[in-house]
Symmetry: C2
Subunit: 249 residues, 2 copies
Amino acid sequence: MIATLLQHRSIRKYKQTPIEERVLNVILESAVSASNTGNMQVYSVIVTKEEKLKKQLWEAHFKQNMVLQAPVLLTFCADINRFHHWCKLRGATPSYDNFLWFFNASIDALLAAQNATIAAEAFGLGICYLGTTTYMADKIVEILKLPQGVLPITTLTLGYPDETPELTDRLPLESVIHNETYHQYSDQEIEKFYKEKENSPQTASLLQINQLENLAKIFTEKRYTLKDNLYFSKQFLKVIENQGFMKNE
Amino acid sequence: MIATLLQHRSIRKYKQTPIEERVLNVILESAVSASNTGNMQVYSVIVTKEEKLKKQLWEAHFKQNMVLQAPVLLTFCADINRFHHWCKLRGATPSYDNFLWFFNASIDALLAAQNATIAAEAFGLGICYLGTTTYMADKIVEILKLPQGVLPITTLTLGYPDETPELTDRLPLESVIHNETYHQYSDQEIEKFYKEKENSPQTASLLQINQLENLAKIFTEKRYTLKDNLYFSKQFLKVIENQGFMKNE
């Protein structure tokens, strides 16, 4: 159990072996067993297998190969639509179309996604999270026909692994954990915590390919630039509003 | 493994038994093994055990008893402070102080929290998520001395269970899962999906206590009211901005 957690690696190449319905069902049951806000279950999971839809999602997700290759895509959505519908049938006036519930519903969707991940890995399946879900939320809303009150939060690609990548490095545990209250870092501590990552062969190879002087600049100048960060911040806020989660007055 | 996932229940009463350092360490190692955005690890975990601090957090978390009782509190935070600090030491100009990275960092923090949950339960410990973390984020920022770029996202109470509650009911799986694209619900489907929950003995008892005609109204008129939802939406947005995650222009 603990070994499954500690040996997690994202899988980006999949075999064509389909996922048995029974297995997928246990993965989804595990997902909905996670904690959720007030047991209101304000989330939905879209299971996509059709080639045509997967191709559309692949285009939305920056054409990452694994999206086409994986036999199953799971899109986890914040969903107040179902709950509002029920309230209205009961003569109750629901008010979950605001930022607080965007975030509560996102928490629910993400805890469910991580439970699905652990269950999948326990079955020998592999997953990869698609951060592009929020970047391209407007396209995904269209493709998956998400109505008002439903917003994509994250996506898992799911399938039997066709690669066995190394474990990804992590910062030393002490750099992420704080005892009692937050410990503000000194320059010396930051130097120490990032040393191993900066001196790894992977980093050396990245610096060579990108022709940049250090790893930090690969993040700020190549991977996640100011221009993109501002653009996608505004885009995501717009979709949150369009899908009906910003009635804060 | 799967059994641990399927048998999750939130624990709100704890024994005074302390948690062994070795066990806590494996729980935290499991937390940081979860997927995270770009392997940037833009989150931190605050481990709080001191009685004085726990008392302050208990007050912030609406004085829920379990907060005082649990030997350990884990506050999972979005954290771009560490990453920005590193970038600046390397002459790179970081731009993760916007809404996109508020959300990416929240995803990271939540996946880590759910991994900690599963690891804790594998050790026979119990947890409860505190949704009050975002409601009272400003107070928690103060108590845990969170600097600019750090924002509390969720909290776990952690300890050996002193109760064995029943499994909480869930909506039928088919109501949360959609095949291929989103399936808009008919009134009849909503009636069917909520029937068991509405007819349970727990609901009967809640209706009796609250003197309300149906379960939906307990949510809208008692638990999560319009007034509170609007108030806490605005509060949380304000703290997100104050902590430096809203520089979207």
